[in-house]
């Protein structure tokens, strides 16, 4: 028997704790459009809507692009659970469409709609508000070699100088595979943010959140992890 002596052979032992999918289990069918795909089990307990959206995104369904606009708080540092609607739901073998309906029924301050391959969830009260940032229209906008979604916000801020526009990110990496150059005509800010997020990859999530004076976009290529603060903190 041949003797093998490796003076410094290495074996890396890993305990790969895969992403926690919370209490959600999915059975995505790659061929089906995202809205028609079914989630085997979707459960939320004492949740607010943003947690439901993030849990939905955590299913990692290819082609699922979500954008969530949170109702503005008084101050960006306020706990999003304070003053929000908390609810519990348990859904079995429902489509994404069904789940979005259930979420927006549970917190009726919100509604949802589709924009191409993106799904937007936003405050119902803003639906017809032309002054609301995400409803404003840009006649023409161009990006040249933007490296990530955050940088794509700068041309928007340059056009809408009367608006506060910003982003926050705590971890992760949303850089594009290659710098992106594009131009758009007669597009709403919501549609544009959708295009910016869709360019991240086959799945994306963006959230617009914060206070009346400081509202921030956050982009992610897959599911985000959200931190639940007890109400009142």
């Amino acid at each position: 028997m041949k003797l093998i002596r490796n003076t410094w052979s290495t074996l890396v032992l890993l305990v790969l704790s895969l992403w926690s999918l919370g209490q959600t289990r999915s059975a995505p069918s790659p061929a089906a459009p995202p809205l028609s795909q079914r989630i085997q089990h979707f459960e939320l307990t004492d949740a607010i809507l943003r947690e439901g959206i993030i849990q939905l995104a955590s299913n990692r369904i290819a082609g699922l692009h979500l954008g969530f606009e949170e109702i503005q708080r008084d101050n960006i540092s306020d706990n999003p659970r304070n003053g929000g609607v908390q609810f519990s739901i348990q859904l079995e073998n429902k489509t994404i469409h069904n789940i979005l309906d259930a979420l927006c029924e549970a917190d009726a301050r919100y509604t949802w709609s589709s924009d191409g391959i993106s799904i937007n969830i936003y405050p119902r009260a803003t639906s017809t508000d032309s002054a609301y940032l995400l409803n404003r229209t840009l006649e023409h906008i161009s990006f040249e070699n933007v490296p990530d979604p955050d940088e794509a916000l700068t041309p928007i801020a340059q056009q809408l100088r009367d608006e506060q526009i910003g982003y926050t990110q705590t971890g992760g990496d949303v850089a594009y595979a290659k710098p992106w150059t594009a131009s758009f005509q007669n597009i709403t800010v919501r549609q544009l943010i959708n295009r910016i997020a869709e360019h991240i990859g086959p799945q994306s999530l963006w959230i617009w959140q914060g206070g009346k004076d400081e509202r921030m976009f956050t982009f992610e290529r897959e599911g985000l992890k959200t931190y639940r603060q007890p109400r009142g903190e």
């Binding site: 074996l11 705590t170 990496d173 897959e222 992890k225 603060q229």
Partner: protein, 131 residues
């Protein structure tokens, strides 16, 4: 056959020192690129070690006050990962909070950072470990 085997455990990180990439006028945006080191050998994990897609997770204490969510990431083909820390706006920032970020690779805690959110953006301080 005699095979000498050394188990390596994810132990600590080193990070790049990125410049501020916030172009909106107020705040900071920095994308830190991390290398992962192991014990007991103290060697960097290489792309050839075959550990791409190893999960990298983060936790924060206390919870980030504004409800900001954090993205998870993975080791890339070079066995590195990037962690973007940003608070950037075209108007002055108002958020103020200090949190401790704990980064784990495959469940092994390998770094804590202090993140101080302020009107100037995010001040980042590594608390190690460094070896």
């Amino acid at each position: 056959v005699q095979l000498n085997v050394t188990a390596r455990e994810f132990a600590y990180l080193t990070n790049s020192n990125p410049s501020n990439a916030c172009t909106l006028g107020y705040g900071t945006k920095r994308s830190y690129v991390y290398n992962v080191y192991t014990h007991p050998d103290g060697k960097v994990v290489l792309g050839t070690d075959g550990l791409s897609n190893t999960p990298v997770t983060e936790s924060f204490s206390p919870a980030v006050s504004c409800g900001t969510d954090t993205g998870n990431t993975i080791l890339n083909t070079n066995a590195q990962f990037t962690d973007c820390i940003a608070q950037c706006s075209n108007q002055p920032l108002t958020r103020s909070q200090t949190v401790t970020e704990t980064i784990s690779v495959a469940g092994y805690p390998v770094r804590t950072n202090t993140l101080q959110f302020s009107s100037g953006g995010v001040i980042y301080t590594s608390n190690g470990p460094t070896q």
